[in-house]
């Protein structure tokens, strides 16, 4: 089982790539699209759905793709944090 620390580290690195390299390239048309990032290589893919993982794996053998929703970053809110309120 992958530890929480390993997942947290993967998330930190993937989000750094998102904020520093990916987000500046995106436009308003990309709002609501899914992004998958391989934090090991910095390779990423973008799509309108979860097929983004398949697209990423065509580019690199990502073992732990990090998936996010642009621009809110979090994929889900659980217990009504509310979109845009806390993320």
């Amino acid at each position: 089982m992958r530890t929480q620390e390993e997942m947290d580290d993967n998330g930190r690195r993937a989000l750094a790539i998102y904020y520093e390299k990916i987000k500046p390239q995106l436009t308003d048309d990309d709002h609501g699209r899914y992004i998958a990032i391989d934090a090991e290589t910095g390779v990423w893919a973008i799509s309108d759905g979860y097929d983004v993982v398949k697209l990423l794996k065509r580019k690199t053998e990502a073992e732990y793709p990090f998936i996010l929703l642009h621009p809110r970053v979090s994929l889900y809110s659980m217990g009504w944090a509310g979109e845009g309120s806390r993320n």
Partner: protein, 135 residues
């Protein structure tokens, strides 16, 4: 049609809907899932149950919990039996209670009879159900 019921006592009523999650290894597990309109995802089960079921891992993601806590968690590609239909869905993990979120019930009209042992009824409105490409 009835898809579930109101469980608990007056101080802890909750709408519950039975689902079955199928793992990659052929294992199936039944849940009396909480219908959680505050969860904007699809399905959530506990991390331990996801491991037991051996469902295929898609990757990892970030969730925001109700208290504002941010959590990194795995996300899986699974199959769920919901209202008599098997659907390929993304499954995340959270606490001990299985959750059904807004994306799974998207396209439905829900009626809750909110009293002890009341019914949870649902009907699809048009053909708006969401599908997910998890290949």
């Amino acid at each position: 049609m009835k898809i579930g019921g109101i469980s608990g006592d007056i101080a802890s009523l909750s709408p519950r809907v039975p689902i079955v999650v199928a793992g990659s290894n052929g294992t199936k597990k039944s849940f009396n899932a909480l219908l959680d309109t505050g969860f904007d995802g699809v399905v959530s089960i506990s991390r331990e149950e996801s491991e037991e079921l051996g469902i295929r891992r898609l990757g990892e993601h970030r969730s925001v919990l109700a208290d504002g806590t941010v959590r990194i968690a795995p996300i899986f590609a699974g199959r769920v039996l919901f209202v008599g239909e098997w659907r390929d869905v993304p499954i995340t993990t959270s606490g001990d209670v299985a959750l059904i979120g807004m994306q799974l019930i998207y396209g439905s009209r829900l009626t809750l009879d909110v009293f002890l042992d009341g019914d949870v009824d649902s009907e699809f409105v048009g053909d708006r159900r969401l599908t997910w490409d998890l290949t």
